[in-house]
Symmetry: C2
Subunit: 467 residues, 2 copies
């Protein structure tokens, strides 16, 4: 088993190159803040600090209370000034000189020196802080109101800075890919451990505990609130304290985050008892075929919306073959048949955030001039750009029997009787299935970063049974 020492460290040269790239495309001063840890119970008992992703992109270290100041073609790290109490409570901290050398920045100064460095902070661009504690801090620093989560309504220099950062972060460099490979490898190992730990009566918690244990051993965290549930039809089911019984499918959407903050995002759906039923296996294979075709379509120059449509078409074809839908595939898709069972988008960009740069609203996910569709299902697609080498996306089609959808006359009317509810009844033991991998777009096509994890039904069964 690999251990934490295997975790790659982004080389200083890569950080310098990223900062130079920003300085070459964005004119004028800019502040990228790491943020503050929000209090959990009280200030001295905070949540485990997670630095802002933009900061991590340029600094690779979760330095609470620090910021990067881009100005005059240079980058200065603004750090918390050394505190005489550090020696007592926190041990020695690196000097400013050591920090400058480790990060390859042009200079390191105290946060309080920011105004002096750039003359005036009036025109300094910044990105929307992720949380209110950071927003209060950055607002105080810049002397203007900066709103947490304000990524959807950026203006002026802030919008220009966001666009410059998006251009960089959309295309992953070698160091970024190394981080994502690590997160993917640990997450693959976690899923295998979860499969082996799953059994009737053990409960969802036992599966999740086995997965997160792998994360911890590699110094990783959950990249997002994990889903580990036998109720895959509840799309945002974040409790994992339910019982597991023979006959259940367990859906695990769990991904690790590398110590530097890079995400993986994997979903597998496996049989608690070690064998898919005939009905489960049939639907599983339909979803798997949809995922295969979508991955094959995710190549340079391809519009991501087409990948989404590819998955929809494969799903509808499969459901027609199983007799759950009736009629001609094009017409069924037009009438919204895919969204009745697959109501979300086929995926999203991934990087330092699992939904990469979602803090900037749709500015990162949608190419200029493109907007979200209005149709139910399609409206939830988070990405509509033309794919290019270096981009990383998830591909995650699914099939769910969501009571709130199938009972909603407004959503089902257009398909009407061509949704064969009598045939569907034979698949009642399939509540929800999703299969998700992370895909790096390459010059030649793509590479599935999470491809080491089994997804053929028989292979998945074999892992579950080996536990």
């Amino acid at each position: 088993m690999r251990d934490q020492a295997d975790c790659p460290v982004t080389p200083k040269a890569a950080l310098i190159a990223r900062r130079r790239a920003l300085l070459s495309t964005f004119d004028g001063p800019a502040l990228v803040a790491a943020g503050r840890a929000p209090a959990r119970n009280y200030p001295a008992n905070p949540y485990g600090f997670r630095a802002n992703s933009h900061f991590l992109y340029f600094a690779a270290r979760p330095m609470e209370g620090a910021a990067l100041l881009f100005h005059d073609g240079k980058c200065t790290l603004l750090a918390q000034p050394p505190d005489p109490e550090d020696a007592l409570w926190h041990g020695p901290r690196p000097t400013f000189e050591a920090l400058a050398d480790a990060l390859g920045v042009d200079d390191v100064k105290s946060v309080g020196d920011a105004a002096q460095i750039v003359g005036s902070l009036d025109d300094v661009a910044t990105l929307p802080p992720q949380d209110e504690a950071t927003a209060r801090w950055v607002s105080g620093l810049l002397g203007r109101t900066v709103t947490a989560g304000g990524g959807a309504s950026l203006e002026g220099v802030d919008a220009a800075l966001a666009d410059a950062v998006i251009s960089l972060r959309l295309v992953h460099d070698e160091a970024a890919v190394a981080q994502m490979r690590f997160a993917a490898a640990v997450s693959v190992e976690a899923h295998r451990a979860g499969m082996r730990a799953t059994r009737p009566g053990a409960g969802e918690q036992a599966t999740y505990a086995a997965m997160v244990d792998v994360f911890r051993r590699h110094g990783c965290e959950d990249a997002y609130p994990p889903i580990v549930t036998v109720h895959g039809e509840v799309l945002h089911q974040h409790a994992h304290d339910g019982a597991t019984a023979d006959g259940d499918l367990l859906l695990a959407d769990v991904g690790g985050e590398s110590p530097e903050g890079w995400a993986a995002d994997i979903t597998r759906t496996w049989p608690v008892g070690g064998s898919y039923s005939g009905s489960q296996r049939a639907i599983y294979d339909v979803v798997l075929e949809a995922q295969r075709r979508a991955i094959a379509a995710a190549t340079p120059g391809r519009r991501y919306r087409d990948v989404h449509e590819t998955a929809k078409r494969a799903l509808v074809e499969g459901l027609v073959e199983l007799g759950i839908l009736r009629g001609e595939v094009d017409g069924l898709i037009e009438r919204g048949a895919a969204a009745l069972f697959f109501p979300h988008g086929v995926g999203h960009i991934i990087g330092l955030d699992v939904h990469d740069m979602e803090d900037l609203g749709d500015r990162a996910g949608y190419a200029p001039g493109r907007e979200r569709a209005e149709a139910f299902g399609d409206a939830f697609l988070r990405l509509d750009r033309d794919l290019a080498p270096g981009m990383a996306v998830t591909i995650e089609p699914g099939f769910y029997q969501v009571p709130g959808i199938l009972a909603d006359e407004r959503l089902t009317a257009a398909v009407g009787d061509d949704l064969r509810r009598d045939a569907l009844a034979a698949f009642a033991d399939v509540r929800g299935i999703r299969i998700e991998d992370d895909v790096l777009i390459t010059d030649g096509g793509n590479e599935v970063l999470t491809g080491a994890l089994a997804k053929e039904a028989s292979e998945v069964e074999a892992i579950v049974r080996s536990g």
Copy 2:
């Protein structure tokens, strides 16, 4: 092994009794908010929500965006109104009627109905929110500025409400004790697992992973940022990615939090290689004796500051015996000799927070009229009340060689040559030792809630070696 099903649930009757007790001692309307989850990367990717402890005390459920409104001798739960999207994404939520029945509140209303219920929100008391996201929400709700972490400067009705809540939460009822026993039992199991997982070359991370795995299997979280380090002399060392070598002592200050939010807080210090060296064993036994005497002193009616002084005295006596200090014990204590090696308080109250109610500043920890001492070391004592049955406290003396203290002329001058640095040099392999248990004050004396965990040096060695 116990599993999550063992976790006790606070009975409705206990919650009703707590609310009645508050209504009988606090006059006028009061709002106790559960809070909001702060964003981690972006709003849809938050930190795992941890509800405000005061809310948990009266409701026992982490209901994000909810609040309890005490008014007119009644308690109304203010909940987020049902959202039509719930059926699609979150599955069915309990109805307001079901919530009222489950919690035993007088009524359940939408948060937006608060003003209507009490006529005006102008005079509604509240407690300081734990974080900025919650502060913004509560400020908007009450129409006045409520500051996150503002517990040290409460005024008016807010101060009166805080005092009423403190009176209740200081004395744990049966249901609270059941929660703390659970958290203690899981934490004891975690420490045993951590001891067994520790070995030269495995790294601190392997120890912590084994401990947190036990938490997860029981549905627990870390109650506070864990300390797992071979550098016990760095008192706030929250990284646990260091190497472990034969000859190192590993200090683990790790405690679990029950699913309802109740904390345990345990420290043990064990030899990485399975055997304390002679010098390590000698100091370990001094710290253990200090802890034993302090626990014996923690009885009803006793002032907690005396417990702290008991530990200091035992420590100084032991160090004199080892030749590290020279001279008469009373004089050495007066000259600050204890704080040179034991610079923190002997403990704190514990309950729903590991430092219980520290969100209210020293209002909870210090009896009216008592204030923090000025002397180095003593100034960090978090608790100075007379102990009473039902209170729970930690007892956690330690010995550390903190370079920043031992090299500080201002701190060491008064002891001078009576600190025998030549003798101390023989104990260079003892960087930091702490031994901590959770103690419930009883009518007859006390009960060590975490007493099932070995602390005799030979017993600890046996567990480490069994791994």
